[in-house]
């Protein structure tokens, strides 16, 4: 049971990394970014490439992989999403889906369709009282908690963060103050994509790697964002960890039904709460 709880926290942490970007881009730009799956996938595949370059050295390859995601997400924002501001949500959705199709096909082109193996970078087990924990999973949870506080600080203390929070409330009001909102949206978008890359990089060693891996995760993260509230950062944090726990506990008793249970929870939440979109 302890391991199940730890597993739940791990999944929750990964979901949290990826959902922040979705939640922020929706809250500020009113765009559901389907291309989020793409940045996630690219992070993972870059990690695999760099690991073979650095002969198995995990940390520098992970950092480089996340850095590669940043220019790609810049290009997506600059040339696709910025042209669709103020348009119907459907078009941005279709456009970002099209980007995902192109990206996934390029991944298949470059790296091939077959699943790639990737092993746990920190193999050691942590012995604590009577239990043994895989250190890597504990580390993921620790990173998630640190990240949560770092983001809280970022949105409370720095001027960029404050502008973004204000824009979540009232975009036009902020624009009237003479702030270039679009530039801050770009920052938010890149931050979200980089965090998706981070999530991918951290999750890849404990899951399977294949070109379509992004879709399942994106749907889970979407459930997280809906349950937590679009653009609500603390809500995202809480719902990510609770849904992660739901997944872990379901998986313990009915291993195939873990993802379905998340969607059932989402449906139940939606029945009792108005959808604010």
């Amino acid at each position: 049971m302890t391991l199940t709880i730890l597993y739940g926290f791990t999944i929750g942490a990964i979901l949290y990394f990826i959902s922040i970007g979705l939640s922020l881009t929706f809250g500020t730009m009113r765009v559901i970014n389907f291309a989020h799956t793409l940045t996630y996938c690219i992070g993972v595949y870059m990690l695999i490439t760099f690991i073979s370059l650095f002969k198995g050295n995990f940390l520098p390859s992970a950092i480089l992989a996340i850095l590669v995601v940043i220019p790609i997400s810049y290009l997506i924002e600059r040339f696709i999403i910025r042209r669709l501001y103020g348009e119907s949500l459907d078009y941005t959705f279709i456009a970002t889906f099209a980007i995902t199709l192109i990206g996934v096909d390029s991944i298949k082109w470059i790296w091939g369709v077959n699943p790639l193996p990737l092993s746990d970078p920190i193999g050691t087990q942590l012995n604590l009282w009577d239990f043994t924990f895989p250190v890597y999973r504990v580390m993921i949870v620790a990173i998630a908690i640190v990240l949560f506080f770092a983001l809280e600080l970022f949105f409370k203390k720095t001027i960029v963060g404050k502008i973004v929070v204000a824009a979540l409330e009232d975009k036009d009001g902020v624009r009237c103050l003479g702030v270039k909102v679009e530039r801050h949206f770009l920052i938010v978008f890149i931050l979200g994509s980089a965090l998706a890359g981070l999530g991918g990089v951290l999750y890849a060693p404990i899951s399977s790697v294949h070109p379509y891996m992004g879709l399942g995760i994106l749907l889970l993260c979407f459930a997280v964002v809906i349950v937590g509230g679009m653009g609500n950062l603390r809500g995202t944090f809480v719902s990510a960890f609770s849904l992660g726990m739901v997944m872990a506990i379901t998986a313990r008793y009915w291993s195939q039904g873990a993802e379905v249970m998340v969607f059932i929870v989402m449906a139940v939440v939606l029945m009792f709460r108005p959808i604010d979109i």
Binding site: I32, D90, Y91, A98, M271, I277
Partner: protein
Amino acid sequence: MKPGTAPGPLITAEETSHPKPRLAGFDVLIIAGAFLLLAAIFSTHRVTDFMIFCIFAMSFDLIYGYMGRLSFGHLLFLGTGAYGSGLFLKYFYGNPLLAMLVGIAAAALLGMLIGAIVVRATGACFALMNLAFNYIGFFLVLSPLRGITNGEDGFGIHALSVGFFNPASKISMFLFVLLCLLLVFYLLKRLTSSPYGIMIRSIKEDETRVKFLGYNTYFYKWLTFVIAGSMAGLAGTLTALNYKYVNPNVMDVHGNVGVVFACLIGGAGRLYGSIVGGVVYMLISNFLPIYIHRWEMFLGISLLIIVFKFRKGIWGYIQEMEEVRKRQKVVPEIAGKGVAQR
């Protein structure tokens, strides 16, 4: 119309004052002729496939083009129809017409359940929620219901022949599907030009105003969702009968992009548009992968081009050309009259 909404037919003043259903006999003849011509060019089996996809595209168009809600999980209903009729044929009785009824009823029932939750959302939220439900359905038939559905291997079915309709014969299947297509077209034509059709188009343009007028928009959206779901279920049952084989690929989540593409390239919000788009998409997806290996990339790039440059689609473009031609015809007539009076 709000600046952001998808293009579609505008509601004209003439339509709102005299909502009269037009007779669609002429259209029916044209469509039947076009598909018979296609069948003469390609094989009947292939064109049967095209027509089934056109039925599916029209049912999608009812939600997307007419009601303005983009669903990214419409294949769920096609899959439900296919599995409903397939399982009925396999476990109970071999009558294809009865199996079709069962499949359509299953899809309609599922539409009622899911619709009650889903139609409250709009925009991308609606799309993603449908996608999530489609994912659940795909997963359910793939593994927890493996005992009944035989997992990813799928199962073959055998249908008896009833009267003139013999699913084993390609010609009979072709004619039956053509009949279904015409029936669906006629029904949708009647529906979309009725007061109800004007209502759902008004919901697309401004739902809040429709609500202010005192209509229960939730009910109409739910009803549309159920109708579209059952028509997709019909397409599903025909798919099962046509291939005599059902496997989870019929509701593969990634297949949804195909119908969105078909609807957009043909012209959303026009029945002819979705038929043209359906045929064009099927032609592309049947013949292009032979020549182009990177098929998904091609699809992605053309979707981007449609979103940025070609929103009206083929049918919308044709209609625009027609209007321009008419206007050019009218102008000299008026000018001529002016001269004559003087």
